[in-house]
Amino acid sequence: MNENDLIEIKNLRVSFPLDEGTVQALDGIDLSIPKGKVIGIVGESGCGKSITARSILQIIPPPGKIDQGEILLRTKLGSMNDDEHIIDLAKLKPDSDLLRQIRWGEISMVFQEPMTSFSAYHSLGDQIMEALLMHKDVSKEEARQAAIEMLDRVGIPNAAVRLNQFPHEFSGGMRQRAMIGMALICNPSMLIADEPTTSLDVTIQAQMLDLMKDLRRDFGSSIMFITHNLGVIAQIADEVSIMYLGKIVEQGTTMDIFHDQKHPYTSSLVEAIPKISDARKKRLTTIRGSVPSPFERPSGCPFHNRCPKMMPGVCDVKVPTPIDFGNGHKAACLLYE
């Protein structure tokens, strides 16, 4: 594991055994999350973004399970002498004490719908303080002060008063901020944000992106940012992984992904977004068909039946392996083999 990496995922495979057959949700994911960086995860719905995130915390919905692979985390938690060590999260029991400590204390997660993070029956302040009291050795009064400071920090006006209000008394944007506040209250090394701005209006979305950039700067946290919005990714991420049918098909710096794509899927995605100042009503580049059903995984390259550069007899037969283009830029496409 590289010195600068907080997390390294190696050959992660996750499946859902269902009555209709087995869904291979993740088909061998390799992904590093460096300290203090924002890693963007992009792809169409169903490609495995959320399951990747949920695997890290072992909160995969049943009957999903990790079949293979490692999720290495560099942490002080669970270490005898308070030094950093490396543990494999995939080997921990989902309900183990260590994993529970890691869940808020080291890695926290925010979701698209903030109501899934909050209980409707307790004041927002109580819930945020609870998270802190459970993981840190602080008094109730200290927890209260910390919660007020955090709400203030994430831009909630009049924090001392709002602390006593219930989640439904907040607007969508404010709830989203409060959720981020709660996620950060224990000063985690990593924040996982799963489509956190998808349901927000552009002005609020822009504020959230600003907030995340500040947090990375001020706390040095790593952020795993999941979205299908390429505009958002271009503005927030340092590095990007593009997923398709449970695989990472390309990864690189944000510049590489937007200006020097190697994988035809990445190029197609970038070309399919309408860009401001395009000639109006010009035809957009499309990707033919749609993502195949998880029960009908194509042979060879998973993208071959939609790919504009598909080579018959090659792409439908051979499974591509990632090719290294230098500087961490990789793509799994047979054009380069």
């Binding site: 822009a206 503005q235 395009d278 957009l284």
Partner: protein
């Protein structure tokens, strides 16, 4: 203002106030001004966009101008090819029924707007059957033609919609809207729930259909890049009010309203070499039950002066076809979207 011959419809002073019932006897205490004194026009053959934060009144406006919902007040004058101009709000029930063949709607979530127990054919045929627009023999022919135009394959007609992907379901929704050959379609967030690759397919389809069939669209969306791509002119709503209306180019690159400027600055550029500087709007979006006095944007506006909290700015045309409701729309030098 364009001449009457160019217009499809004119909306004048449209209002929709929803009563909020509270208390044991369900007495009306307050109202939500979902749409308040809105005036605009849509030209024949164009795509007119409506943008604004959620809850700003876009869907309500779309429904009102089809009279899918009764307004509190206001006129919607239609100029249809084969008829004298008329106010939709004055039509009788029976006349309104006949009007259905001139306009239809497409929705965001094609799944929830499709009945899972109906086959694709029944779904597409429903408006035809309901309005008795065609003889029985002609129905099948029309359905096949419409399906083909909308890229719904003929084999799908016998199947049920739940088996289809989001893109296919949206095509079915479009076919249903087009089966009566209406000249005007209200598209309410038709691509908001779709992945980019499918969004591109649907936007191309809507453009092709518009060219082929001479359609006019009202296009409601919150993704400003999509709106910039597909719309000829755009209106911006905030708390039930129309704040600005202009050609897409003017609105995006020479806005006159401070709220439009803030929206434009917040569009995330799909290019990491463009550094965004979004204008921070302070405070929360006010409640539509209790909108601020004067200009409803004043508590969040960085250009606000004392007059802004005292009087409601007039809806005025500042340059040809460029309308705005801001006390300083004639003076401010505002920044547009990045190019």
């Amino acid at each position: 203002m364009p001449g009457d011959d160019q217009l499809l419809l004119e909306v004048k002073n449209l209002k929709k106030y929803f009563p909020i019932r509270r208390g044991a006897f369900g007495t009306v205490k307050k109202t939500v001004k979902a749409v308040d004194r809105v005036s605009f026009f849509i030209k024949k053959g164009e795509t007119f966009g409506l943008v604004g934060e959620s809850g700003s009144g876009k869907t309500t406006t779309g429904r009102l101008i089809l009279r899918a919902m009764e307004p509190t007040e206001g006129e919607v004058i239609y100029h249809l090819e084969d008829r004298e101009p008329f106010d939709l709000m004055k039509l009788s029930k029976k006349e309104l029924w006949e009007f259905r063949r001139y306009s239809q709607m497409i929705f965001q979530d094609p799944y929830s707007s499709l009945n899972p127990r109906m086959t694709v054919r029944d779904i597409v045929a429903e408006p035809l059957i309901a309005t008795k627009a065609l003889q029985k023999e002609a129905v099948t022919q029309r359905i096949r033609e419409t399906a083909k135009k909308c890229q719904v394959s003929i084999e799908f007609l016998r199947r049920y919609p739940h088996a289809f992907s989001g893109g296919q379901r949206q095509r079915i929704g479009i076919a249903r809207a087009l089966v009566l050959n209406p000249p005007f379609i209200v598209c309410d967030e038709p691509v908001s729930a779709l992945d980019v690759s499918i969004q591109a397919q649907i936007l191309n389809l809507l453009n092709d259909l518009q060219e082929e069939l001479d359609l006019t669209y009202l296009f409601i969306a919150h993704d400003l890049s999509v709106v910039e791509h597909i719309c000829d002119r755009v209106g911006v709503m905030y708390l039930g009010r129309l704040f600005e209306m202009a050609t897409t180019r003017d609105l995006f690159f020479s806005p006159r309203h401070p709220y439009t400027e803030a929206l434009m600055s917040a569009i995330p550029a799909a290019d990491p070499s463009i550094i965004m500087e979004p204008i921070k709007l302070t405070g929360e979006i006010p409640s539509p039950i209790n909108p601020p006095e004067g200009c409803s944007f004043h508590p969040r506006c960085r250009y606000a002066q004392p007059i802004c909290s005292q009087s409601i700015p007039e809806w005025k045309e500042y340059s040809p076809e460029h309308f705005a409701a801001c006390h300083f729309a004639g003076e401010l030098e505002l920044k547009g979207a990045f190019k």
